[in-house]
């Protein structure tokens, strides 16, 4: 499997080919060590399933989400329009991304600026691959594992997708436990709105601790996440509670890969 690689759009273009879907990696997925593991897991699944996929590679740039949520509309639109030029230049029609923030921005905020694509979150895409039979989970290595799921705000409340991640957990035959606050009432991990990049305001607790405590109440073996930022926040929370030995925070792409023994 490791001999396979994921082509860049520039390579594809040079060969006169067009991918069926572009994998938008996002900044965390490109640079953050923890998030890169998610990126690689998802890329391996795509290749395994025989998806004709490409990345922008060095031509990808921040969607502008953190700038926009910090209040810098100008920088956001600069980023957006630069990206749209690149995407439209390659005649991209369909995008999949492992980051709910990129997903939300590409899907909802790019169209008005001239970027019209079909945008999917990777949990939605994986669900489709499994449903169409392109991807099969054999082995069921996570069968019976106790898993809880933390809804990312920008996938859940922001875009109304609560089912795809839960469907994936069902498919890997894990023992699924909901947290008290879930789906539309899910508590934020504390990273959104550019909070990831600053110190929190004065309070009596960090938000990720509050959320981690809630996750721990379900006595999980695994806390499933679907966002690289939530992943960081929850991992930090678990470390803060000194539970990193017994409880893992894993992305759904990683769980699907682990469950299916896909890296044959």
């Amino acid at each position: 499997m490791s001999q396979q690689s994921i082509p860049s759009m520039a390579d594809m273009m040079a060969q006169g080919k067009q991918p069926e879907v572009l994998f938008w990696v996002g900044c965390a997925g490109s640079f953050d060590d923890r998030a890169k593991k998610i990126t690689k897991a998802f890329a391996r699944i795509l290749l395994q399933a025989g998806v004709n996929v490409a990345i922008l590679g060095k031509e990808e740039s921040c969607t502008g989400d953190p700038a926009k949520r910090a209040g810098n509309e100008f920088l956001f639109q600069m980023q957006a329009m630069t990206n749209i030029e690149v995407l439209n230049g390659y005649e991209i029609k369909k995008i999949v991304t492992t980051c709910p923030h990129c997903f939300n921005t590409l899907k909802n905020e790019y169209p008005a600026l001239g970027g019209n694509y079909e945008v999917m979150h990777h949990t939605q895409y994986l669900k489709e691959l499994l449903e169409s039979g392109k991807l099969k989970i054999e082995g069921g290595k996570l069968k019976g594992k106790r898993i809880t799921f933390h809804d990312p705000c920008y996938l859940g409340r922001a875009n109304g997708e609560y089912e795809a991640p839960r469907k994936l957990i069902e498919t890997i035959e894990a023992e699924f436990v909901e947290m008290r606050r879930c789906k539309s009432k899910g508590l934020c991990c504390g990273a959104g709105g550019a909070q990831m990049f600053k110190e929190p305001e004065k309070g009596n607790k960090d938000i990720n601790i509050e959320r981690t405590e809630e996750a721990l109440e379900t006595q999980p073996e695994i806390i499933a996440a679907a966002c690289p930022f939530c992943n960081t926040m929850m991992s930090d929370g678990v470390k803060n509670k000194e539970k990193e030995g017994s409880i893992k925070v894993l992305d759904l792409a990683e769980l699907v890969e682990m469950a299916g023994d896909l890296s044959s």
């Binding site: 490109s30 920088l75 009432k185 305001e201 960090d206």
Partner: protein, 437 residues
């Protein structure tokens, strides 16, 4: 009864009450219109449906089943019992007494019986709400922003409702013992009739009149209380849901002025020194510093807010002890809009700068920067108010007009600008992971 001085007094009271209400409601309308224009008249079909579901159908209200259930009692009770006000108006103006009783016959008796049952349910619901506020002391009613007037306001409304319902029941009860009763006795009030059993016919008649007047004058007084209360929601909840944002909650508006500027910058053929096009207004302020920089839906939201605190109860920042409370954001916008409105009234129709603004004088920066943009407040609001939209506009002002973001955020933005990522990594390393598959 026949036409006389009482009818003139009634008509005068009615006209004065409606006139004062219209004046104050007009001021609220004017204050809402201080906001910038925004188009929320598209997708009309969906809007009607949404209003039907959320306002008439109370769909978000019942997400909290206890409050939802008792509120439906008050809401339905209020709407239906007010049908009776129609008769009171006719009687009051023409000097008739229970004018609909004989033409409607048995239907009338059934209707009044039904209203009486509703009145009892309304009283029960109001008592439950008073209990929740004052005995059970639900935390969402007792956050900092609720100190003083907002807490009193919440209690006054409930007490007034109870008083009005009792006036209605006692009015019917006093009639029950009257020889000249045109209708009744009724289901509930007959049990109250014993209060009046020892009275002379004249006394009964007077009692009936007293409660009749108490009921209608109470309603007119309550009407005039609305514009100064969170209870204005009984009117604004409807337009507020009709004009609600129908897009996915994660979709934030793109500022069109910025779009024009960015397009100009990116167009190699554009002349950067070109004079702005003819007729182009002076550049507007980015984001919002004061209520006039918000749009009218933001301000309508503020006047529609019921101060129920469901938004604040769900807010991750508030739950972890930060100063931010989305309800306070809405209350602050309303307070400031009232102040600006009063300023305009005092200065013959134009706003005279008072050296104050929504930012800093009402909403602190600390509150604004604590928001994670998680949309929990928007999701929670039973009237579909959007505090996040206001928070984002105020952040835009701080960043784009003042460049006053925290140092770490400025660093993040510099990185996005220079490296295409919020951290200091080289663009060239973006796809390093791809060689590690």
């Amino acid at each position: 009864m026949s036409f006389g001085i009482a009818n003139i007094i009634f008509l005068a009271a009615l006209i004065i009450a409606i006139a004062i209400f219209a004046k104050n409601a007009g001021k609220i309308r004017r204050n809402i219109m201080l906001g910038k224009d925004v188009n929320r008249s598209d997708r009309k079909g969906e809007r009607w449906k949404n209003m039907g579901l959320v306002a008439f159908g109370q769909s978000k209200m019942v997400k909290r089943p206890i409050a939802g259930f008792f509120h439906i009692l008050i809401y339905v009770g209020f709407v239906l019992i007010n049908i009776e006000v129609l008769e009171i108006l006719i009687d009051g103006v023409f000097g008739t007494h229970r004018v609909l009783a004989s033409p409607l016959g048995a239907v009338y008796t059934t209707a009044i019986n039904f209203f009486e049952v509703l009145a009892v349910l309304v009283i029960v619901a109001c008592v439950v709400f008073l209990w929740r506020r004052n005995v059970q002391r639900l935390p969402r009613f007792h956050k900092d922003e609720m100190k003083g007037w907002p807490t009193k306001d919440g209690n006054y409304i409930l007490i007034i409702e109870i008083v009005l319902m009792f006036a209605l029941l006692l009015m019917n009860a006093s009639e029950a013992n009257m020889e000249a009763a045109v209708a009744g006795p009724y289901l509930v009030s007959q049990h109250l009739a014993s209060f009046f059993s020892g009275m002379s016919q004249e006394g009964l008649h007077t009692a009936e009149r007293v409660f009749w007047w108490a009921h209608i004058l109470g309603i007119l007084a309550f009407l005039n209380y609305l514009p100064f209360s969170k209870h204005f929601h009984i009117i604004l909840a409807f337009p507020n849901t009709w004009y609600a944002n129908l897009n996915p909650k994660g979709k934030f508006d793109n500022n069109e002025t910025v779009t024009r500027e960015v397009k100009m910058m990116m167009d190699p053929s554009a002349d950067p020194y070109a004079a702005p096009a003819e007729g182009q207004a002076e550049p507007e302020r980015f984001g919002a510093k004061d209520v006039m920089d918000l749009d009218w839906v933001n301000i309508m939201n503020a006047y529609a807010c019921t101060e129920c605190g469901r938004c604040t109860a769900e807010c991750p920042a508030n739950q972890t002890g930060k100063k931010l409370s989305p309800r306070k954001i809405m209350m602050d916008v309303r307070d400031r809009a009232d102040i600006v409105g009063a300023n305009i009234d005092a200065n013959k129709g134009t706003f005279k700068d008072d050296g104050k603004s929504l930012l800093d004088d009402h909403i602190s920066r600390e509150e604004l920067w604590a928001c994670t943009t998680c949309n929990a407040c928007v999701e929670a609001c039973p009237v579909q108010i959007d505090p996040l939209n206001i928070i984002m506009k105020m952040r835009q002002y701080m960043v784009m007009e003042e460049s006053s973001a925290a140092q770490e955020l400025n660093l993040m933005m510099t990185n996005v600008e220079n490296n295409g990522a919020p951290w200091q990594f080289a663009q060239a390393d973006r796809d390093n992971w791809a060689s590690e598959l």
